[in-house]
């Protein structure tokens, strides 16, 4: 059967990340590793980011992607992975919180 129906390569974050890597770009991968309450994207969802701040995929419904991209550029520089937490309990909730009231944990690591 035709696999292209089941894997949308043009929008798939991990396939895009591999393409960036082949082009010699520095890449960070952000992954939702835990959620509490209502969270827009399930555990395991990816956002991939290059050193210029280009990104594909999502870890929320657009609520916290900006903050993750900023942190990811740091992670690419330092090579040190980071665990980020977002949600209503967080101090920064009003700036980059999840309007749905959930909480998520996002692991950001450099590729390679």
């Amino acid at each position: 059967m035709d696999n292209s129906i089941y894997l949308d390569e043009a929008r798939d974050p991990l396939i895009i990340a591999e393409g960036w890597m082949k082009d010699g770009k520095d890449v960070a991968i952000a992954t939702v590793v835990e959620t509490w309450g209502s969270a827009p994207r399930p555990v395991g969802s990816h956002l991939v980011i290059d050193a210029d701040g280009n990104f594909h995929g999502s870890v929320s419904g657009g609520c916290v992607e900006g903050a993750v991209v900023t942190e990811a550029v740091d992670v690419i520089d330092s090579g040190k992975a980071k665990m980020l937490e977002f949600g209503v309990a967080d101090e920064t909730a009003w700036q980059v919180g999840l309007s749905c009231g959930g909480r998520i944990k996002v692991y950001v690591e450099r590729l390679g």
Binding site: I5, L14, E18, V43, M83
Partner: protein, 234 residues
């Protein structure tokens, strides 16, 4: 993430094979686990659970925190027979998250008019399945009632270890089918995996009701993978 791990995950996903990427959240090291790989202890149990459910999760094991990212192929349903049941089954299954492909060499049945927005193959199962083989994340329902069309596909589904194999027909019809499949080289254990008569026993009468029964049975089979007999794992 290790570049090799990324390449492997993508290659396995393209090939429709399940993998789990296990990341130690303490030191960032990761490794690939394929379905059937033996992993001991608490971590192994959590990995087995993730393969079964398809759910990614953080787990505590051996005093460390691991993140298990499960990449399972999307389950799909291949229906042999562009018949009345299939017309109801295709939209229902798609809504439930099981995209449908329909195979029927009879061009009067397999028309875009009867099956709008469905992947339709108006050819013999022998031809399409050679080019695009079945796999263990595929369910196959054979509903033509015609041995010339159904039998090859059923044998192929058993050999590919499809997670669900169902065949339309009465017990009497199925008894004759069993004889034919044995002659084709299927083993008795393989044949025992065929759900026939097809569908959960909900007293379905109309084609649409039979479609519900088939879809429910396929979902049940998918969600209980790994709980059935061990010989089902090829």
């Amino acid at each position: 993430m290790d570049p090799y791990a990324l390449k492997t995950v993508n290659a396995e996903r393209r090939a429709r094979r399940a993998v789990i990427l296990v990341t130690d959240l303490g030191d960032g090291r990761d490794r690939i686990v394929r379905e059937g790989d033996q992993v001991a202890g608490e971590l192994g149990a959590a990995i087995a659970k993730a393969f079964r459910s398809g759910n990614s999760a953080s787990v505590e094991a051996e005093g460390r925190t691991f993140f298990l990212n499960a990449y399972l192929p999307q389950p799909r349903l291949v229906v042999i027979g562009a018949v009345h049941i299939s017309q109801a089954l295709a939209p229902m299954a798609r809504i439930a998250g099981y995209p449908v492909e329909i195979v029927d060499p009879r061009t009067a049945f397999a028309t875009a008019d009867r099956f709008p927005d469905v992947a339709l193959h108006a050819e013999w199962p022998e031809d399409i399945l050679k080019r695009q083989p079945l796999d263990s994340y595929t369910a196959l329902a054979a509903v033509t009632h015609d041995p010339k069309i159904d039998d090859f596909a059923l044998k192929a589904a058993l050999d590919a270890n499809c997670f669900y194999v169902g065949a339309l027909g009465s017990r009497k019809t199925h008894a004759k089918r069993v004889e034919r499949l044995l002659a084709l080289g299927a083993t008795a254990d393989q044949i025992a995996r065929i759900h026939a008569p097809i569908g959960l026993d909900i007293g379905a009468a109309s084609p649409a009701e039979i479609a519900v029964a088939v879809l429910a049975q396929a979902i049940q089979a998918f969600r209980s993978r790994g709980h059935e007999s061990k010989d089902a794992v090829a």
